[in-house]
Symmetry: C2
Subunit: 230 residues, 2 copies
């Protein structure tokens, strides 16, 4: 009956993807029977997966009323970005002390390799993937699994917003001065130079800039998608 990979984890991954892709509208109640039919599983494993997503902050739960998609308020978005700052700046501090030169060089190679693609990629999802991968790899250099876990959760919950943000940024990408260093490069160079202060400042500035852009993007997304409750 159960295969190599369990049904719960498959359902969990699908739900996570659905949540990140906004398959559920904010505040929408989730119908277990219908969803279980759609995912080809019974309610038992579905509810186990849903409970995991509640614990991770994707969904909420009300007793006897069921599971709800979490509403996306501007405050919540801001909280997520601030938590990202907390995780990524501390990870950077640790990486300055711990990361091997070779590891930093590898990430630099990845950055160089993807940067050309990044500029030309029309697909915002591809760009988002590269962006997330860079940040995840950067945090991984700290060697701290908890920070890595935290960033993964934050990224997943923030993905839809970042997608909107990146789409908008793409339209303006041509305006970037060619010789100018990308924010990612600046961060990585500071790390390579073991300059914790500069690295942290670059990271802080980078995320803050993206948060501001995302806030604007959220404002637009809100007006296009739905009206939040508060």
């Amino acid at each position: 009956m159960a295969k190599q990979e369990s049904n719960v984890s498959r359902v969990y991954e699908e739900l996570r993807q659905m949540a990140a892709d906004f398959a559920f509208m904010p505040d929408q109640r989730i119908n277990e029977s219908e969803l279980s039919k759609r995912l080809g599983a019974s309610r038992t494993p579905l509810r186990e997966a849903l409970n995991q997503l509640v614990a991770e902050g994707f969904l909420t739960f009300q007793n006897n009323r069921g599971f709800f998609c979490r509403s996306l308020t501007p405050k919540y978005i801001q909280d997520l970005y601030e938590a990202r700052v907390a995780v990524e700046t501390e990870a950077l501090r640790l990486s300055v002390r711990r990361a091997e030169d070779s590891e930093i060089a590898e990430l630099g190679a990845y950055l160089e390799q993807t940067e050309a693609e990044y500029e030309t990629a029309d697909d915002p999802e591809a760009r988002l993937g590269m962006d997330e991968t860079f940040h995840m790899r950067l945090v991984r250099l700290s060697g701290n699994s908890e920070l890595e876990r935290a960033l993964r959760s934050l990224n997943d919950r923030i993905r839809y917003i970042r997608l909107i943000d990146l789409k908008r940024m793409h339209d303006k990408a041509a305006t970037r001065v060619p010789g100018e260093l990308s924010a990612h490069s600046r961060i990585l160079m500071a790390l390579a130079g073991r300059d914790a202060e500069a690295a942290e400042a670059a990271m802080r500035g980078h995320i803050e800039k993206r948060r501001e852009a995302a806030t604007e993007a959220v404002r637009i997304a809100f007006s296009q998608l739905y009206v939040p409750h508060d």
Copy 2:
């Protein structure tokens, strides 16, 4: 059948408490049938609660083999403490900008009120409660729910270690010079003075000191309790 508070959440809270109290030995396999009997619920709600705990990092799960208590390696403890630094220092930065003077004063009053108790309390759990409450309230001053959620999860997972640490500290408490400011007071005073640098430095030093003590405590706990696998 279902009451005001759901069975799942009751089971969840009990399991969380059990995990924090080390009712499960690290790497121990959790027998669902037995546990469900003990908690007075069937396996269905039990497994829903267990899945939440997996998502939060208390337990691990292997397909077709079930749930396991997470093993407590020194590396894991260190990761948790470093994550605490990330969360608490960033929260402090935000609080310096955002917290009202009155809120800071309230927390100061709490600190003053508990500090006397703290010195004389024989019960290490009472001291741990006061310590956790202070840190949670401090993070709450930042107004960021995600950081609050993150600290709660970290605290719960680290609780047993902190308890051991506080027990040892209690034995040496008499050596503290009476006029000396407590670490908590130093942090709060820096916050009240809106000095982000000083507040962060104080927090960093405080947690780092506790981490070192906890590492030592863990070393002792390890040798007393069990032999970890790596």
